[in-house]
Symmetry: C2
Subunit: 213 residues, 2 copies
DNA sequence: GTTTTATCGAGAAAAAAGTATCGATATAAT
DNA sequence: ATTATATCGATACTTTTTTCTCGATAAAAC
């Protein structure tokens, strides 16, 4: 099977999961084929944009019909790397950390959080949703032994850089960071920030503009 | 004071919180002035881009010096609507809901989650981080009485549309949605999706491309 | 069987976002 | 005092992203 290593824009990459969520809903309803026109209407996008996004995944459609829901689902998942699970470690078993540890659907998104690490001795030793919380000191050896590629950072902002450094030192290839702090990483390592504050900024800015005309 | 009701791109809006996080760090360190060149270096952006983003907030700088950290912080906060707190209700006191209810820093970001609602009788009546969990049936009257503008949705995807409909019916003006479901809202209401899966998609796609060259 | 219609896919056009250039200016160095 | 330098802010330019147009095609309608 030809691997699609097409490089696409971040914008495209971020629309693909939206399509996937819709496709999953449709599949559950027994729908078999879907057109880009339909997908576009659902999100108020341009149909051509959806077509170009879909093109990146390598799936081809048929005129007048569109795309097979199952086929497109598969291609998007493959393209996003959601077909086989990536093991991950989580640093910071606090409120956000707990929520992530308990999120069953990550399985659908190719993410498998294997264990958590915390510097607080009171948290160490416990199990959260069946996942062990261990002391930070055990992390480096385990990253190497278990070939962990992804580190999830849910520590307070002022400790985020330290956590990231430790993870990268240990050999992690990608960081998923939830702390609102500007982080420095070496060349070659992937840093992705899950910044809720960015989303909130868009909301509150829009809201204030609507409320004060 | 002149209110800045400039409409800016979503991209700009999402970079502003980044600058703010940096400014807060600098302010804590006692730094008084900052140049766009410096900010740009920190995030690996173009200095001109930072200048344009900053321009949107209405803050003016001085040549050779840059911007006052305090002044810029203030203007960004004002522009984002983070200077005065917006009251919000949260629907779905599960794992993610709990994390949000316990997040102290929302205060800094102009968000004040007042109470939570859940349909599970076992959750109703409890207090989570000092915030009451109430039955959904009480929500509409309270939205009206307390003039709540923001509804936060942290229910499972299949119940998200119902939660959103109920909130909007009750009079909420803006929805912050965490469920991975395509939602329909009427004209005039603001919908902002905090989609962790989008961020994860970028990460896993990049990672698979790095791992399989 | 012919026409109509909905869709894809490719390429062109338009719009938006990002980047470079340059004069003005405020400070520091000579 | 003069020169050098770092920065802003305005404008011009470039690149990227989005949208439009159109021919090809597969199914449905007539
Ligand atoms: N809770 C939310 O809703 C929310 C929302 C947006 C962003 N965030 C961000 O996510 C991060 C975590 O937030 P939270 O609410 O879970 O905080 P929290 O205080 O509940 O949890 C932080 C955890 O990290 C641990 N920790 C601290 N320093 C550590 C270190 N150096 N190594 C390992 N563990 C360490 C603490 O012991 C604690 O268990 C913060 O950066 C926060 O800003 C949280
Ligand atoms: N936990 C995470 O890390 C995470 C990450 C990304 C997205 N999400 C999304 O956030 C949402 C919540 O996730 P979670 O992990 O907190 O789930 P959860 O199952 O822990 O919590 C859901 C809560 O919503 C309540 N609920 C269900 N239907 C309701 C309704 N109609 N009205 C009011 N309350 C209702 C349930 O009683 C429960 O308390 C989901 O849509 C999930 O996909 C969660």
């Amino acid at each position: 099977m030809a691997q699609h290593t097409v490089v696409v824009s971040r914008s495209t990459l971020k629309r693909l999961p939206l399509y996937l969520h819709l496709l999953e809903k449709l599949q559950a309803e027994g729908v078999e084929t879907i057109s880009c026109t339909y997908i576009a209407k659902e999100f108020d996008f341009d149909p051509t944009q959806v077509r170009k996004d879909v093109e990146a995944t390598g799936e081809v459609g048929t005129a007048r019909i569109g795309f097979r829901v199952a086929g497109l689902t598969d291609k998007i998942k493959e393209f996003l790397g959601w077909n086989n699970a990536h093991d991950a470690f989580l640093i910071g078993a606090g409120n956000m950390g707990k929520a992530l540890l308990g999120y069953k659907d990550f399985e659908k998104y190719g993410l498998n959080i294997v264990a958590a690490f915390d510097k607080d001795p009171k948290k160490v030793g416990a199990k959260i949703f069946g996942k062990e919380v261990m002391p930070l000191s055990k992390m480096p050896a385990l990253v190497k032994r278990m070939h962990i590629n992804i580190g999830i950072v849910t520590v307070p902002a002022e400790h985020a850089q330290a956590a990231v450094d430790a993870l990268i030192d240990a050999g992690v290839k990608a960081i998923w960071n939830f702390a609102p702090a500007p982080l420095k990483i070496p060349e070659g390592v992937i840093l992705e920030n899950a910044r809720l504050t960015q989303s909130l900024a868009v909301l509150t800015n829009n809201l204030t503009r609507v409320l004060k005309p």
